[in-house]
């Protein structure tokens, strides 16, 4: 079971993950349009990043600062902090876990830096805690509840599963073989969903910050999603 999960199934899920990202990026660009000359000039009046002169004079730090100042997240600082830390941890934790580093070295011969098991534990607990907060928000904040479907409720749970099962497997809670199998299956499901479902927003938000010209973008966007 373990060999199968770590062998062919892992390869399939990695292929599906990358193909999903490539397809989505292709679809995003295909379903977007270049900013027309008219909207480019119209943007100057309402959007100071639309003005090339001012934009050029700013360095990356100022652009990030301006992007933050213009962001609506500023009015919801707690949520900004929660989402930023959560998304960062979700990316960093699986890469930095020591056991994953050993496995990666075993398969590729490349040694990667990893952090201690205590830090990994803290990160995992923090992630699960944040997911619980997001889940509760989806269940009880009326404006979010109204737009959340059953599938929308499943997404945080699917994200939490590999972290919970990995934590339990490491601490030998329950049957180890079962836990490690659950960990591998749930992590591979998550990997495929990162490529093909809306969970991929964790990566595509970067593209929207680059491509879309708006008062929130860090770079000089030249496209717009939707036509």
């Amino acid at each position: 079971m373990y060999d199968f999960l770590m062998g062919p199934l892992l390869v399939i899920s990695i292929i599906l993950f990358f193909s999903g990202i490539i397809y989505k990026l292709y679809a995003l660009i295909r379903h977007s349009k270049s900013i027309s000359l008219i909207s480019k000039y119209r943007a100057i009046s309402s959007d100071h990043l639309g003005n090339d002169g001012i934009f050029k004079s700013l360095n990356l730090y100022d652009r990030l600062l301006l992007s933050f100042q213009n962001s609506r997240l500023k009015s919801n600082l707690l949520f900004l902090l929660l989402t930023s830390i959560f998304h960062l941890l979700v990316i960093v934790t699986p890469i930095g876990v020591h056991a994953h580093g050993i496995l990666f070295y075993h398969y590729s011969g490349i040694s990667v830096a990893s952090f201690s098991d205590k830090i990994a534990d803290t990160f995992t607990v923090t992630i699960v805690l944040f997911i619980t907060i997001f889940l509760l928000r989806r269940l009880f904040v009326l404006s979010v509840k109204r737009i959340t479907s059953l599938y929308g409720l499943m997404l945080p749970i699917i994200t939490a599963l590999p972290f919970v099962s990995g934590f339990m497997a490491y601490h030998q809670v329950g049957n180890y073989d079962l836990m490690i199998s659950l960990h591998l299956i749930s992590a591979q499901v998550l990997l495929v969903m990162l490529g093909w479902s809306r969970l991929g927003h964790i990566m595509f938000i970067i593209f929207s910050k680059i491509f879309i010209r708006s008062e929130f973008s860090v770079f000089k966007g030249f496209r717009q999603w939707g036509k």
């Binding site: 997240l73 949520f79 404006s143 999603w225 939707g226």
Partner: protein, 131 residues
């Protein structure tokens, strides 16, 4: 009065299906919404009324999103109910901000165009607000 302003009373399912099929970008963008609810704070209508049905994502998902969901089962009352959302609770000011970059006004405008094609739109003879 909830009557369409023209003589149409049945939905041209075939035509509607073709329109929905032609606008794959709208379908794609709708599937891109992660229901984070952050757009709500940018809508002046929501900020003033605190009506959970007036958040930009709710309006988007329950207008064009509903059309894609129902596909060939769209009925007239669906469009009439939609009218209260996309005209009554939205002025297409374009100030809504989606962290994912979804162009919400373009999607609502698309839903409006489908309603108009079926004779459902603002009617200022009935009410000064048109709805």
């Amino acid at each position: 009065m909830d009557e369409p302003i023209n003589e149409l009373s049945e939905i041209d399912q075939k035509g509607l299906k073709k329109i929905l099929r032609d606008r794959k970008d709208i379908k794609f963008l709708l599937s891109y919404c992660v229901s984070c609810g952050l757009c709500s704070e940018t809508c002046f209508y929501y900020k003033n009324t605190k009506d959970p049905q007036s958040t930009p994502s709710y309006k988007m998902l329950n207008s064009a999103g509903l059309l894609y969901k129902l596909n060939s089962n769209v009925r007239y009352d669906h469009l009439i109910r939609m009218k209260y959302l996309i005209w009554g609770k939205c002025v297409l000011c374009g100030r809504c901000f989606c962290p994912m970059g979804i162009n919400i006004p373009s999607i609502i405008a698309f839903a409006r165009s489908i309603c108009r094609e079926h004779g459902i739109c603002e009617n200022y003879e009935n009410h000064p607000r048109g709805i």
